[in-house]
């Protein structure tokens, strides 16, 4: 396994509003002032669409990146969404949780590893790779 995920379960306790500013690009005005407020967006709503069905995870890998996701990135994962082909998903197998790319090939579901290997969902008669959720947002810090 080239990477692992630190799973974080969230519970909302308060919501936050973020004023949205509109910038005129060509004018290149400095930091926006109150007059420029275009509206308010809720950062919680922006980042988390389905709070009750969402958890966070931190991506950990010493050596690899996964589709541009690198060590320490914070992932927001929605367990209520059905993935479509090409989406990044969190997959559980035994005690491991990893990222995979969801693939549909000729109507059959596959999970693609970072090295391009395709895994079928059912890998042994009784053991199934568990689809835990779809990664909706990635937060990378500099």
């Amino acid at each position: 396994m080239s990477h692992y995920l630190e799973l974080i379960r969230i519970k909302f306790t308060e919501s936050g509003k973020v004023p949205l500013f509109s910038m005129s690009v060509s004018a290149g005005k400095p930091i926006p002032i109150e007059d420029d407020i275009e509206g308010e967006i809720d950062l919680n709503e922006y980042l988390v669409e389905h709070p009750a069905a969402t958890f966070f995870a931190r991506f950990r890998s010493k050596t690899d990146t996964f589709s541009g996701i690198s060590d320490g990135d914070l992932l927001i994962i929605d367990t209520s969404l059905n993935p479509t082909d090409g989406k990044i998903v969190v997959v559980g197998y035994r005690n491991e949780t990893t990222l995979k790319i969801y693939r549909i090939i000729n109507g059959e579901e596959f999970f693609e590893s970072y090295d391009g290997k395709l895994l079928t969902r059912r890998i042994e008669p009784l053991i199934e790779l568990k689809l835990l959720g779809v990664v909706t947002k990635v937060i990378h810090s500099f």
């Binding site: 974080i8 379960r9 969230i10 973020v18 290149g28 950062l43 541009g68 035994r94 909706t136």
Partner: protein, 140 residues
Amino acid sequence: MRAKKKGKIKKKYYYEAELFPASIPLSPANYEPELIQIDLTNILAPIPKNIYLVKVNGESMIEENIFDGDILIVDKNEKPKDGSIVIAALNGELTVKTFRIIDEKAYLFSANQRFLPIEIGELMQFEIQGVVKHVIKNLV
């Protein structure tokens, strides 16, 4: 690259969260998760009044993994260091660049080799408007 929209974070909010160590499944029967409180504002905007958001428009920073449509969280009070990713107002246009100091001269680099570095000249209208701290990508 152009920066389109800005937002400012005002209010603090909290997530109460259970932190699972690595490789523990979501519903472990015999595992007591540590209850922690995650404050997203602390992670993304420790001093909310210093923070604003910018939506990226353009592809001049793709080698820094910043893409069209990403949201940048910018600290307007942080002083840029050599290598910082900054929002710069340059000749009347907002841009996202890498700030470099080489032989005491300031440059703005694009993280895309198709764009040439810009040396900051005395006659240029130029202002650093903040250091990019986080980038948020939408995957769905």
